[in-house]
């Protein structure tokens, strides 16, 4: 199995405060990794660093993606090269329709990759069937990006974007939070639909319940800026029972 992502001794800070303190992680193509851990452990920081947020500064260590140093790529280039971050708090962009946003994103990525841009008709066909897959109302395509969406709708919209953009590495930051059972099922189906031997997924989550629907290959516990324990799906269940306290002490 080929390594898609290798993180070595990653240190990162935000606003001068070190959050990640020597994180190591290897994700192979075809795998789903769950990253769990207490609040403030650095889970969201890891997502932001991978996506290329500029206010998160890597101070030491390396991230290699498809064998390439990720530091060379801007946020938009990372997106074009297949890194997708599902936001914990998706942003509203009033007046910009979902349709327009998705088309701009897809075509910007295709252009960056040297592929022809999709015209309006092809794009519509591309999007429509994915909207259906996410059991969303097609009318939401003409609404502003996340404008007036409920928490659950926003998360579902993130997964729709993921389906449309067809990324290679998906980093989903607490995509399960704020979802009711039905929505969780739909989101999980979306994530599962994207599983393939070429792709990998990192699920950042607090809870076991998403992992009931999306079976992970590996589970990691992130505490105080480092991976303190790794294991199989059983680890997630163990955490659900025991909490993180015992691991934090170990760290």
């Amino acid at each position: 199995m080929s390594q898609l992502l290798q993180i070595e001794n990653l240190h990162a800070e935000v606003a001068g405060k070190e959050i990640l303190k020597g994180l190591d992680l290897v994700v192979n193509a075809g795998e789903v990794h769950a990253i769990m851990g207490p609040n403030g452990a650095g889970k969201s920081t890891l997502s932001k660093v991978l996506a290329g947020a500029e206010d998160y500064v890597v101070t030491a260590g390396t991230i290699r993606y498809q064998g390439r140093d990720l530091a060379e790529l801007s946020a938009e280039q990372r997106a074009a090269h297949g890194i997708f971050m599902g936001f914990q708090y998706p942003v509203e962009i009033p007046g910009v329709s979902n349709m327009m946003f998705l088309k701009a994103a897809l075509n910007a990525q295709r252009k960056e990759r040297g592929e022809p841009e999709l015209d309006a008709g092809d794009f519509l066909a591309w999007v429509r069937h994915r909207v259906k897959q996410m059991k969303m109302d097609p009318a939401m395509l003409s609404r502003g990006v996340n404008q007036g969406f409920s928490g659950g709708e926003k998360k579902r919209n993130e997964i729709l974007q993921m389906l449309v953009l067809e990324p290679r590495l998906m980093v989903l930051d607490e995509t399960d939070s704020g979802l009711d059972i039905d929505a969780l099922k739909i989101v999980a189906d979306g994530i599962n639909a994207m599983r393939s031997p070429e792709r990998a997924t990192i699920l950042v989550t607090h809870y076991q319940r998403l992992l009931d629907h999306v079976q992970p290959d590996a589970v990691h516990v992130l505490a105080a800026g480092r991976i303190v324990k790794s294991g199989g799906p059983d680890l997630a269940r163990e955490l659900e029972e025991k909490g993180y306290g015992w691991l934090q002490q170990a760290a």
């Binding site: 206010d55 946020a75 938009e76 997106a79 971050m85 942003v91 910009v96 974007q161």
Partner: protein, 498 residues
Amino acid sequence: MDSDLMAANPSDIPVPAEGIEALVQNRKYAAGFVTDIESERIAPGLNEDVVRLISAKKQEPEWLLEFRLKAFRRWQSMREPHWAHVEHPRIDFQAITYWSAPKSMANQPKSLDEVDPKLLETYKKLGIPLKEQEILAGVQNVAVDVVFDSVSVATTFKQKLAEAGVIFCPISEAVREHPELVKKYLGSVVPFGDNYYAALNSAVFSDGSFVFVPKGVRCPMELSTYFRINERNTGQFERTLIICEDDAQVSYLEGCTAPQRDENQLHAAVVELVALDRAEIKYSTVQNWYPGDENGVGGIYNFVTKRGDCRGRASKISWTQVETGSAITWKYPSCILRGDDSVGEFYSVALTHHRQQADTGTKMIHVGRNTRSTIVSKGISAGRGQQAYRGLVRVLEKAEGARNHTRCDSLLIGDQCGAHTFPYTEVRNPTAIVEHEATTSKIADDQLFYCRARGIGEEDAVSMIVNGFCKDVFKELPMEFAVEAQKLLQVSLEGAVG
């Protein structure tokens, strides 16, 4: 709004045309022309002789000379207004040239083939290929009346309009061909002494468009005029007059560009709209005059008076403006809702970048019963741009059931720009409902990151966010203008972030 209508009494003052020309010729002419087009221009400065000369050059009737002179005298007694939230060096009105005309006007071109090729070349540089536009316009039903400097040099599609009974021509031509109409309506919405710049315009206005849509006629095409300022130091004083008789309708588009200049150029236009019973006038502007450079050098001073009079019952006047250019914009397109059930609308996008300043908004004067007005203003400030929304909603005693809704949003890009809102509301009828909503927001870093994380580059992201912000206004623009407006914003915001 019940100020003096223009006095149309013909005066006995003779027009000694040759005499004044001789007088002027004794003065030193400004040296050097800006383009190779030979221009006929008089020396800078303004006095009664110059006003008379302009009128004589244009072979105007005495009543119009009298109108100009009254305005000039009023202007002399007035003071330059300083209440707007803008700063600029004192304007030396005696350093401005008040008359210039391309010489080729002496023989009016009968078709574009006869138009000075240099002129056509200039338009090409501006991206307005007139020939193509004529062809395109034939398809798109757009008639173009081009104002180059002070005088209109090409008018197209007059035939088709004439068949419908619509008059669309330079106002100087209207003075000759339809004096009774001009005399009846000129200055009836914006009186000659209305304000400092309107008075100046009334005294020295050069040319502009005249539109008359007779009873029951729906103008068969959208009317469009491109303005351009070419002459160095030549203030432009357009005068536009649009009249829709009972049940008539027209949509008028105005777009402007100007080439780079180091000197500030004054522009003081007056636009008057008159809508009679059930008439509808839609007036759209995309304004992109030279805004000055990053340090605020150069750029146009745009001091405009635009006002529409919903004179008839259930008439409607709608202003839509996209203001991205000019160093200073001072502009308040307004509606006087005189007729019962009349409707006034104002949709505005104003963008200030670098050192641009804009003080813009509208006035809605509710006079008649059940009059309604809507104001949607979107202000975008970037760089060191400063922007003020200034809007007046006045409901008079008899305006039973009047309604206004105002929405005023500001978007800031960066931390050195400013946005200010000055809403004025005066309600003298207790049944009126007046609502005002205002927001100020910044393009947030998290919005930009969200777009970038989806693969959209920073400049495209800003442009997308800004266009989304302006959507409520752009949807009021005619289609081709909406596209142009979006491009304009994108170009105007280049370098605003990063």
